[in-house]
Symmetry: C2
DNA sequence: GTTATCTTTTCTGTATACAATCTTGTTGTT
DNA sequence: AACAACAAGATTGTATACAGAAAAGATAAC
């Protein structure tokens, strides 16, 4: 693997994981030394992260880890609404229905797992990743897949900031399962509307969680 | 302006204008010499264009100008549907209505200009750019604006390939004017639906034009 | 005490050199 | 004649050196 890729992955992971919190200023020399690559591949990584919207180049100051606020979360959800409703619609029209029927079963299983007190989050996140992959394969639109990929990276970061409790996970699982069902029966309108509902509720849940989290951080600072 | 920016702009312009047709293989040394910059900033430009989806890195062969086919046009329109309907909805909710009322007047004027046989295309494209800018300002969502920007660059390339005739421009102007009207009166549902209609018809028009164009190219080759 | 200017230091942007990998063409063998 | 192996060449990825610009700090002037 190329040095620039390693630097990109590492930095992205650290940003998503919150190890590099929003507002952190990253110097080229400093980071190239830390990551053990020279400035050239590091700059490539920086540029990609700027294009992704994970870093911002502040005029004279260098690159800064982009802020995550309630506003940016809302902005993200507004894009998701447009994009994912459309993706759900297309998936309902084009998907291999068998795939989504099986996926539906898996959601049914995982719901009892989460209820049963198993390590719920992991089960759920894995299943969600499977769902995303199934959507990507179904829509057969590389350009849309690429756009969705970026959205998901940002969402991963938001989720880390606002970890959910089992009750919320279960809600989300139910909502997603309905989308899966709609796609499995080829009902495009239902798929789109169920996605809208899911995103609306998810936005509420995430906003609440982020608000709590930000309040905690502010308290710590004070 | 930085050398990497100049290289990026120049290459993007040439790709959009069709001077670098789809399939053209670009070598690093070759292009850095042609553009008068060293390999380092050129690579930065290449990377940005790859991220934009204008270039593809073929495993051992180098970067290649990405293909434009009927399929990719359709893919682009599918993303536009999701994104621009949402943008229109948000704009209807948030826009300064005065701005869009004035824009409506301008569309009214330009329609007679196009009808009157003036250099129609330029009038229309300028007005369209104004419309895009007004949307960007209205929605107040930097993340969505960034996503839209990329879509529009791709559309510019498609439009160059499929130049429209005055009749088609006039149709498009009417459709867009309705979107403007919907936003001016704050009717989000109408704005979204008018956008859907516009994109549907635009897709038909562009597909037809691209089909003709591709047929012509194939004839020349044969 | 405040402001302005100059100097020093750091950082960004670019060029270039080097190393490793992959292509391609040629030669030799079956 | 076909295929394989090797060598020459090109090309990509990385490191590093240098130049120019910008920021911070210090000193001087008002």
């Amino acid at each position: 693997m190329r040095a620039s890729d390693r630097a990109y992955r590492k930095l992205l992971d650290e940003i998503v994981a919150g190890e590099l919190p929003a507002g952190t200023v990253l110097g080229e020399v400093e980071q190239s030394e830390r990551l053990g690559v020279s400035r050239t591949p590091l700059r490539e990584a920086f540029n990609r992260l700027v294009a992704d919207g994970m870093l911002n180049t502040e005029p004279g100051r260098g690159v800064v880890v982009s802020q995550l606020s309630l506003e940016t979360v809302t902005e993200l959800y507004e894009v998701r609404e447009g994009l994912e409703e459309q993706a759900a619609r297309l998936a309902a029209q084009r998907a291999d229905k068998e795939v989504f029927k099986k996926l539906w079963e898996e959601f049914e299983n995982s719901k009892s797992l989460i209820l049963g007190g198993e390590i719920g989050a992991n089960v759920f996140y894995e299943l969600n990743a499977k769902f995303d992959d199934a959507i990507d394969e179904a829509i057969q639109n590389p350009y849309m897949v690429a756009t969705l990929k970026n959205v998901r990276t940002h969402m991963a970061r938001v989720r880390k900031l606002a970890r959910s409790n089992p009750a919320r996970l279960l809600e989300a699982a139910s909502e997603t399962q309905l989308i899966v069902e709609a796609i499995a029966i080829g009902d495009a309108a239902l798929a789109a509307h169920a996605t809208h509902v899911h995103l609306h509720k998810s936005h509420s849940r995430v906003s609440a969680a982020v608000r709590e989290q930000l309040a905690k951080i502010n308290k710590e600072v004070a």
